[in-house]
Amino acid sequence: MAQAETHDPGEPLRTVDGMPLKSALARASRRARIRAFLLVAPLLVFVLVTFAVPIGQMLSRSVVNDQFSANMPALGEWFDENGKADPDEAAYAALAADLATSYADKTAGNVGTRINYEIAGTRSLFTSSARKAKDLKPPYKEALLALDPGWGKADLWAAMRSASARATLNFYQAAVDRKIGADGNFETAPETNRIYIKLFIRTFILSVVITALCLLLGFPVAHLLAVLPLRHASLLMILVLLPFWTSLLVRTTSWMVLLQSQGVVNDVLVKLGLVSDSNRLEMMYNQTGTIIAMTHILLPFMILPLYSVMKTIPPAYARAARSLGATSWTTFRRIYLPQTVSGIGAGGILCFILAVGYYITPALVGGADGTLISNQIAFHMLKSLNWSLAAALASMLLAAVLILYWAYDRLVGIDNMKLG
């Protein structure tokens, strides 16, 4: 008390070593913050380097456009100077010079492939003309047109003009089924070539169907687990957790075994006389296979969040409603269901996020019409080698997933995520 009496109210409180108490506290808490951050820093750096940077770099590939522009410098210069003008003799001269160099550098194939993305069937035009470009004499326009009249086409020049830019949105345009027309503007691709919009819609619809099925199957099970006495519930919980812990490939394999036309499900149906032997159900390599297998795989991700919410709902509310005269249906609809909404949201978003980006199961059981956008990305990465288009599709998928992730965070909070 002696100190308090001698303390002058105008003077700030000080620590023993004479520092104002306020700044000493601020310093201590700043140090605590730095200490906490230093603990997290190594992992943060690790994840940024091995995860965030590679993905960012991959996304930048979707706008980088050097496959054509780096190998055709003279033509690029002509486009810079003349813009959208019709190709004149100088343009053809630049083209012939570039073709000759690209043949010498063995890059003609790359250049042709780049234009082939825009106009199918033009790769050979580049490779065959490049082979003879060295011997061309002026006037180049006539010489090139004599080599192949295809060089005079307006849409080819439009495609080359857009491929000459260092950065492009072409691949995003391609990813939404638009291509460059003869006038250099984007137009919607012909009906038969529109695959990506359809694929995005299919991915969305299948994910909605799978999420809805998971909810339909997961809700009763989660409810049963939540209301049963704990020792029974934990036994039944094993039936949910075992699939969760089992390898994805194992589960997909077993669905392939079950669903194939000579498989167990068809055999049982034939034995029961529900299906004739000559008329076995086609449940695999189509959408049915994808839906069944993915519902099974994602079901635990719906049951676990629902269960953790339902466990906290006091049964007294339902009993109170019943005693006030509500029927059991009204009790469920007006009292119980509203309390489970946060669990439905958490499980639903989680299932949907996982379904939208799914790759393995659709690739194995999906066949032609049960594949999703991820499979198309893999196709462009491994087979068609149109990496820029793969990157454009990937960035669109990533944007969708990040929006959902943000919604999940707002609704549930990432730190409330639980496993098992």
């Binding site: 390898s247 490939l249 394999t253 980006g357 990937a394 992730y405 990432i414």
Partner: protein, 303 residues
């Protein structure tokens, strides 16, 4: 949830219907996993129950697909089964090589993910941690971002820096994928951790290291171990990243299965699947025991 005495007949009917529906859903969940176990003992190369199997005729069952796992890829599969034969298995059998690769990659990825993840979780669970939510969101994102996007990104990144086709590259990638699981389980354990224990230890003169190893770590060990198991399973089950960045030398079990399923699905796959199911049953048991131990340590009585 016992049926109340005042239940109407309709409610009684619904009560039992509901149980039947739930039983069917449980069957849907578990049957696909259990059905492959008997099928893997099929004596014939079919994926369905043969007549002999249904009559429990011993001739309908065999271990040939398990044997095939050992002999596939060997130089002399028909030789006498002595020491040399087993050495041949160890060095040449493809599934054995795949298992070795899976264990090596899984082990180092788990160590890396667990050590980094646990330290970070300690920081994240401190109340004074700045930008907690944002950093948490970044650290969890490898679990949320579609695997194909991660694999594509790593494919370009690793070819640029010369890590593709190396064990080190695959280990780094798998560690990244396992980190969210470690973070989630360890922060969940730390939520229930009594911070005053740390202050008490410091009060009694323990330094930060002693406090961590003698007070904090023993209490959070169950969470750390289940996080590590999650990370290991993630690596052990991962195929897409290995397909994109691994070379033939990094053939793991899932990749071998993937090839087997895509090319010519043979009952050998079912034998592998059965072994993996047994493995996951063991893991599930361990995690469950750990969870109970953690609750006991923290004084939480199971409700």
């Amino acid at each position: 949830m016992a049926l109340p005495v005042y239940a109407s007949p309709l409610e009684r009917v619904w009560y039992y219907t509901y149980r039947v529906i739930c039983a069917l859903i449980f069957i849907f969940l578990i049957a696909p996993i259990l059905i492959i176990i008997p099928l893997s003992f099929n004596a014939d190369p079919y994926f369905t129950f043969t007549r002999a199997m249904l009559h429990f005729d011993p001739a309908g069952y065999s271990l040939r697909w398990y044997d095939n796992l050992l002999t596939f890829g060997m130089t002399l599969p028909g030789a006498l089964r002595d020491g040399a034969w087993w050495s041949d298995v160890w060095h040449n059998a493809q599934w054995v090589q795949a298992a070795k690769n899976s264990v090596i990659i899984g082990f180092f990825a788990t160590i890396l993910a667990t050590v980094l993840g646990t330290i970070a979780a300690l920081g994240l669970s401190r109340p004074e941690m700045p930008y907690r939510k944002l950093i948490m969101a970044i650290l969890i994102s490898p679990m949320i971002v579609p695997i194909i996007i991660t694999a594509t990104g790593l494919f370009f990144f690793y070819s640029d820096i010369g890590l593709s086709g190396t064990y080190f590259g695959v280990i780094l990638a798998h560690a990244t994928l396992g980190i969210p699981f470690v973070i989630i389980t360890v922060t969940a354990t730390l939520m229930g951790f009594d911070r005053s224990l740390v202050r008490a230890a410091q009060n009694l003169g323990a330094g930060p290291a002693t406090t961590f190893f003698k007070v904090q770590l023993p209490l959070i060990t169950p969470g750390v171990v289940s996080g590590a198991l999650f990370a290991f399973v993630t690596s052990f089950d991962e195929v897409v990243v290995v397909l994109f960045i691994g070379s033939h030398a990094q053939q793991t079990i899932p990749r071998q299965m993937w090839n087997g399923i895509r090319e010519q699905i043979s009952p050998s796959i079912l034998a592998v699947a059965t072994i993996l199911v047994a493995f996951s049953i063991v893991l599930l048991t361990v995690v469950e025991l750990l969870r109970r131990r953690s609750e006991r340590l923290r004084g939480v009585t199971p409700s």
